[in-house]
Symmetry: C2
Subunit: 142 residues, 2 copies
DNA sequence: CGATGTCACTTGAAGTGTCAAGCTAAGTAG
DNA sequence: CTACTTAGCTTGACACTTCAAGTGACATCG
């Protein structure tokens, strides 16, 4: 399940929208940000990827006209990635299909009770894996 | 969680044993087979990968001395992949660390009850995603 | 003011995955 | 026996990820 589910979700996005799940995550994170803008390192964290990977991907998204980059005015070390109008349209066009796929693959086959159980289980495992979760480990509490 | 867990498991294997999760799955599937032997297409299914990907990976495993290939005697279209002695040792050496990682990341943070819930939930989603699961769905095409 | 350090990011090369095309062995029809 | 089809697998080109090294902007210290 841990292999098939991510692969299936990736495949749906690739098939229906021509983008990878990572690209979707990046554009989606931008679409929810104030000014549709975030700096690269923040974006890398949100999309769960390395800065290097993000840099390559944003270069491709820029080439496709969905994102543009500019240095942050008050500190030139930061690079702001900004979702363009076309990028916004792309997210709006891709999102419903992706959400529907998640519903079909996951929520449709579970009862309401199971959804709640999965939420708790996922939360615990996620907490254990996130950097913060490692801290809490010794004190055995969440 | 769906992003972090596979990534963390991959990272553990890469760090401690120098192999990818897919390579581990391939060698593990061979180690459990009669004669430590399976044909390529069967192996691709078991490891949840394409035949092409498997072919490339087995070529690399062969170069590292962990697997060898030979045509099946009674039907030359099939290629048998066979785990070597060294390959067996590699699996035996890698398995405990990987099993322990899964335990730490998943089972340690869940109660017995939650483990049982996760088993049921995983089974349902897996069934929905596997080719057979699509059939079982009430004739709904997508 | 210049040297040094750090931070945020980019780049190029090497490795890996994917896709389409090709190869060989076995089966089938005339 | 020849021609065609199918099954199982391999290959090569291209795209993506990763890793190590590099760049430029700002901060600090003498």
């Amino acid at each position: 399940m841990l292999i098939l589910l991510p692969a299936s979700l990736d495949a749906q996005l690739q098939r229906d929208s021509g983008i990878s799940h990572f690209e979707y995550a990046v554009m989606s994170a931008l679409s929810e940000a104030p000014q549709r803008t975030r700096c690269m390192s923040e974006l890398a964290d949100l999309a769960n990827g390395s800065l290097s990977r993000l840099s390559h991907v944003v270069k491709r998204l820029e080439r496709r006209g969905w994102v543009r980059r500019e240095p942050r005015p008050e500190d030139g070390r930061y690079t702001n990635a900004i979702l363009t109008g076309e990028g916004w349209d792309k997210v709006v066009e891709s999102a419903p299909g992706h959400v529907e796929a998640v519903r079909e693959m996951v929520f449709d086959v579970l009862s309401e009770e199971e959804v709640e159980q999965l939420r708790r289980i996922g939360q615990r495992i996620h907490l254990r894996l996130s950097p913060h979760g490692m801290m809490a480990q010794r004190h055995g509490q969440d």
